[in-house]
Structure formats: C-alpha cells, structure tokens
Amino acid sequence: MTKPQTKKTDKRVGLFVCHCGVNIAGVVDVEKVAQVMKDYPGVSFSANYVYMCSDPGQQMIIDTIKEKKLDSIIIAACSPTLHEKTFQEAARLAGLNPYQIEIANIREQDSWVHTDKDKATKKAIRIVKGHVEKAIRNESLEPIKVDVTRRALVIGGGISGIQAALDVADHGYEVLLVEKNPSIGGKMIQLSETFPTLDCSQCIMTPKMVEASRHPRIKLLTYHEVESVSGFVGNFKVRIKRKPRYVDATLCNLCGECEKVCPQVVPDEFNMGLSFRKAVYLPFPQAVPGTYTLDAANCLGLSPVRCGKCKDVCDKKAIDYDMKEKIIEEDVGGIIIATGYDLYTMQALGEYGGEKYEDVINGLEFERILSASGPTGGVIRRPSDGQVPKSIVFVQCSGSRDTEKHLPYCSKICCMYTAKHSMLYKHRVPDGQATVFYIDVRTGGKAFDEFYQRTVEEDKVLYIRGKVSKIIKEGDTLIVWGVDTLTGKKVEIEADMVVLAMAMVKADGVQDLLKRLKISTDIHGFLAEAHPKLRPVESLNAGFFLAGCALGPKDIPEAVSQASAAAAKIGDLFSQKELSHEPTVVPADDEKCSGCAICITMCPYGARSMDKERGVVVVNEVLCEGCGACAAACPCGAAQQRNQTDEQIFAMVSAMLRE
C-alpha cells in the first residue's frame, strides 16, 4: 500500500462555500474556510456567498466557471439530497459535465449538529479538503443510454389491474394483463353493492371488464401466472405460464351442457364455499373471458380420461383434454403489480369459534349472501339452516388493531362496509335487529360519514362501542359476549348470525412470486413503496410500479386512483426516447483482472460475467447499479468504481484525517 502523492494536477477546481444565512455561517466560519482553501493544491478559486442555491448564487457559479475556466466545482453547503440536481443543472448550463460537481455537506453533518464553532470550522475544512481530493480525480461521465420496450405487463386482474391496463392501453401502448384465475374481476366482482352509493358492484365493473377484453391493445391472459422476470427497466423478459383450461375459449358458447353432466361437485370459491360448482365450470355469469374452464385438480382424471362426459356433450367441440401447460416469453418495458388482498383466516380467532360455527361468517361471504346472483338469490339466509336471521351481530376489527395476537393495523374499509351490510340487512329484513360492535367508526371518505349516520338514524342499527370477547353457540343460537364501554356494562346478545369484519391481509400465494421478482414487502407482506408519502405507486426496483390493495388496505376509489397513477408512471417511462442509467458503475479493467471471478459472485444484479476466451471479467454496465461491493472485493484493483476509485478514497481519507 503506497502513500498517494498529492496529485500534481492541471484541474482547476472552484470552491463555493455557502453561508445558508446563519444556518452554516452561524457556527462555521465560512470566510475562514474559503480563505484557507485558497491555497490548497488544485483549488483555483475559492469564495463564500450567502445563499448558493438562490438565483444570484446560481448565476455566480455559472459566471465564475466561465470566467475562471473552472473544470470542476465544489459547493460546500447543505446535504446533496437537497440541491445536487440544482447545482448540476447550473454547472451544465456553464458547459460543465454534471459529474464534475461535488457537494460537501457542512450543514446537516456539521453546522447543525455541533456547537463548538472552532471544532465545527476545523471539521468543515477537513470535509472540503476531502472533496477537493475527489474532485481533482473525477472523470467526466455520460449517462448510459438504454432502449425502452414500450409494452407493459400488469400482474393481477382485479379492479386495480384492469384500470391500470385500460389507462396504459389508452395511452397508446400494448399491455399484457395476467390473471391467475379463470376470469378477471378480483374481489370487487364478488361484492353486491359498493359504499357509499350502493352501486351494484357487478354493474359498474363488468363494463370495465368487457372493455379490457375488447381493447385492441390489451392482451388478456387469464388462467396464466407469471413465473419469472429477468432483465432491467425498459428491457424486461417475462416468462408466463399458461395453465391448461382444457376448453377452447374461442369455441365455447356458454351453453352449459358440460356442467350439467359433470359428476364432480366441489365448493364454489366464488361464492366463498357457500354453494357448489362442478369441475367444469363458469366462475360466475359475467366472467371475462366468457368461457367454461375444466378444473383438472377436481376432475375425475384426464390422463387417462376417466369420465369424458363433458366432451361428449359439447356441440362446439370446445373441450380438449390434450391441452398442456405452456410457458410463453414476452418482452416488456414496465411492470405494474396489482395482486390484491385476502381476508385474515377465521381459524386464527379461536375466541370467535375458529371456523367451527357455520353462521359466523366474514364480509365477503355476507356479500355473496346479499348478492342477487349469489347462493341465496339475494335473500339473506343463514348458512346452517337457510333461515332468515332475525338478529345479526356485526363485529368490526376482527383481527385488526390487535397488537397482542393478530394484526396491529387498521383495515380501513371495514367500518364503511359494516355500515353498508347492516343497512342492507335492515332494508331486506326490516323487523330484524342489527347490532354493530365497534372500537371506532372511521368514515373519512366523501359522503362516508353521512352514509354511516343514515345507518344509525334511519335504519336504526344499534352501534355498541366495545370489543367482542367470545362467541359461543347454544343450540341454534349464537351468543355474542361483548361490552358496552360507554355504559360500562357487559353485554350478551343472542344472534342468528354473526358477520366478522376480518382484517385485510396480503394475498395468498403471491409471496413466492414477489421474492423471485425481488420486490420488497413490509412485515405484513404488503408491497413496499419507494417512499410512503411522496412515491406511493413506485417500487424501489426500477421499472416496477404498484397499485391497489397489494400495497395495503384501501377502498375502490383509492385503488382506482393508484392504478391510474401507476399507469401514468408507465407513461413517464415509455415517453422517454431512451432511458438513462447512472454511469457511476464499476467496470472491469482487463489489464489488471486476474480472472479470479470473486467479483461475479459479489454482484446481486448479475452484471458481471466471465469472458471464457480471454479469462477476464466483462461488465454489462446497464445492469450495474454501482453499489461497489465488487470493487471492495477485487484483490487486483481491477474493479474500480467510476468517480469513487480506491485512489480517490485513499486521497480523501488522507486529506480528511491529516492536520
């Protein structure tokens, strides 16, 4: 390890020390800093000014660069996270390469945190010296240009996925909409009415579903699953698995004869297990695409064929037992993840019976009971004996807002849909008693509180503030033990049916895919956005955008907004002629490379590979994200990060530590 010589340099570095009013100057003697640095090797100009980021400050930089023929500048001011781009732009206007700009942080990391003026000034000088050593060795760099495939992939065909696909397609780009179930629609199509308008959910959704299926630029891939994604932003390669439907969707005319003869009866997932379907089935009448699907897992057997009745009766010859799973490969430039949610399992709530009691159901089951196309034809009947319940208890926060055992967060929509459920119940069973146990009633949206007030005042739903501690069954009746915290009394209510507002949780069966895509999730399995406040629909992974309940509990208008936002981000991405990739990557110097391949194992992006013929490492600079892990590992010094080489680091360390 040799001592770096103070580099003899032709570079003309300009130093601008900012006062930032008194934010810096009140503690750091900025004039002294500028004065001391005047004589530092490499510094051709050194000045201090009140507000470097102001217009006159910027102008001063531009003018000085031109006058003093500076080829590198250092702004000693606030954190680079604030104004790096601003100063880079100013320098660019003066004809300087943006990578010749250094920002020395002497505010957040000096004047704002230290009180001893002498020490703070000394530290500021050290910091600036370090940046000078870096600046005199900085190379001018050009961003790496990358082409963009102007095609999008949307994963998930619920309301968010559908809206996103429609928006991107309307922009003029082609979209692949992938949905693992036989039909798009997600959870929204299972709902009966939506709050607060009581719109029929299927009536407002089916037009969108049909539009998605007919849109010239949307390729609808239902009964498909995304297997893997490789590549990088603007240039993704996606492998999608086509699951065999055993029915040719183009031939099927929905006559339903196959269903009639199928001997296999299984619980119907669309109706939440409250009714049955056959192995060959149409998920629901408005399914898109409108075709039957043969569920091989529940069929008597296809190889060899054990039954064959459905094929026999199919006039259109649409049934084909020989269909196979197929992997298709597609190129896309941007991906929107809209994989939705699921409800917390009732099994976890042993105090409410686990899943023992047939008449204790969750919100989605109640939606199916309310639905005119549901298992009871829209008549509210309880699952156990089909009787019309004369007393229903609704329990909010089942599993939510529970820091002890279940989920600590609020599921956002339950207060509103419970009000809706109780209201609809009262409309259909006017002499019935509806009781809601709540902790709070959260009605933050437009016309939400008015809707809730209607429930209480017009529909006479009884709201009791308190948690339900236990639900037991005695004979045919359910007994709900709760408390009324406003009177301080224990409450025991006899009910024919209980509807639990179960917490919204991460979607089943998606975690694996997210891991493979390296999309980060939070501790609850919801997608992690780039910034919770300011970047709600972007992932930290470039090229991936997020929308809907996959991010966390929300209602339909929010999901639709996020979907449109994600689509707009795709629009941003695709509207660029080419993409720019940060050039501060780590290339491989083939003269120094010994071919040990250690750096290849270090890279999480697969940017490095071995050129077997020459025995040296080559780097795909587009994939390199510039973390530097390989640079630190290389034993030969062949991997040097652009503008943060070992030489630069040694020089900076030396300058910052030496007196």
């Binding site: 990391q109 945190v113 973390c627 990060q641 530590l657």
Partner: protein, 145 residues
C-alpha cells in the same frame, strides 16, 4: 489534550440519511468524526480502514442499512461478513478490534445516529490514541532516507 479522531464511512441510502436527519432535527453530538459517503457499506474495503488508521484515525465507523433493507439487496450482509473477519485480524496488527464499529442505522434513525456517535467517541477516548501513523510514517521516513 487527546481528542479522538474518527473516520466514518456512511452508506448513502441509510446512515448518511440518518446523519442528515440528525442535522435537520438539530440533535447535537460529538464532532470527532468526519464522514465519507459511499453508495453502499459494501464498498468499504478493509484497506480503506487500515489506511484510515495509518492516516491518523483512532477509530473507524461504518454505517449501513438494517439487514433486509439494503438498497442493493444484500450489500450489508457482505459488509457484515467482511468486517467480522477483518476484526479478527486486527489484534494481529496490534489494533484493538473495538476501534472498528459496524452499525446498522436506518434513514429514520437520526437520534440513534447521534447517540452512536457520542458512544463511539467515548469508547475511542477510553481506548486512547492509536498513533499508528507515527510508527508507520517513521519507518517509511527511515526507509526513504
């Protein structure tokens, strides 16, 4: 009066952001460290650390993201392994391993950053000056003469 001198390598995404947050929150702490911002804590080479000692640092601090949160997926795990092994080597070089500290500090933990800086400064103060450079430079000067 001996004042400990500390060289800090902070990862841009987490610890440097935490240091900025400490600044925005006006939390005061010891001024004994100078910060060098790297893209990822995994950029830090043991050579950089040894060089820091040679150039006068009495302690070296490395700040990275919490496990699982690395902007570059797994850089911090590499740092962890590297520093763990490196610290085992330090006694052989006559340097107390406590002079190197690796800490996970997220961008939201401004207060923690300040506390760690104060703590580490005191730890290094207690260990006393390293004076590594004196011996090394002396030997090099002797060689050059």
């Amino acid at each position: 009066m001996y004042e400990p001198q500390i060289m800090s390598f902070l990862c841009k995404w987490c610890t440097s952001a935490a240091a900025d947050l400490a600044g925005t929150s006006r939390i005061h702490y010891a001024s004994n460290a100078v910060n060098l911002r790297v893209m990822c804590s995994s950029r830090v080479d043991p050579q950089h650390i040894l060089y820091s000692f040679r150039e006068g640092a009495d302690g070296v601090f490395i700040g990275g993201c919490h496990p699982g949160d690395c902007h570059y997926v797994e850089g911090n795990y590499k740092t962890l392994r590297r520093i763990a092994l490196f610290k085992k080597m330090l006694p052989e070089l006559g340097i107390e391993p406590q002079r190197v500290r690796l800490e996970w500090i997220s961008a939201a933990e401004g207060k923690k950053y300040a506390q760690v800086m104060d703590e580490f400064t005191e730890q290094i103060r207690a260990l006393g000056p390293l004076n590594f450079n004196e011996k090394a430079l002396k030997r090099e000067e002797q060689k050059n003469e």
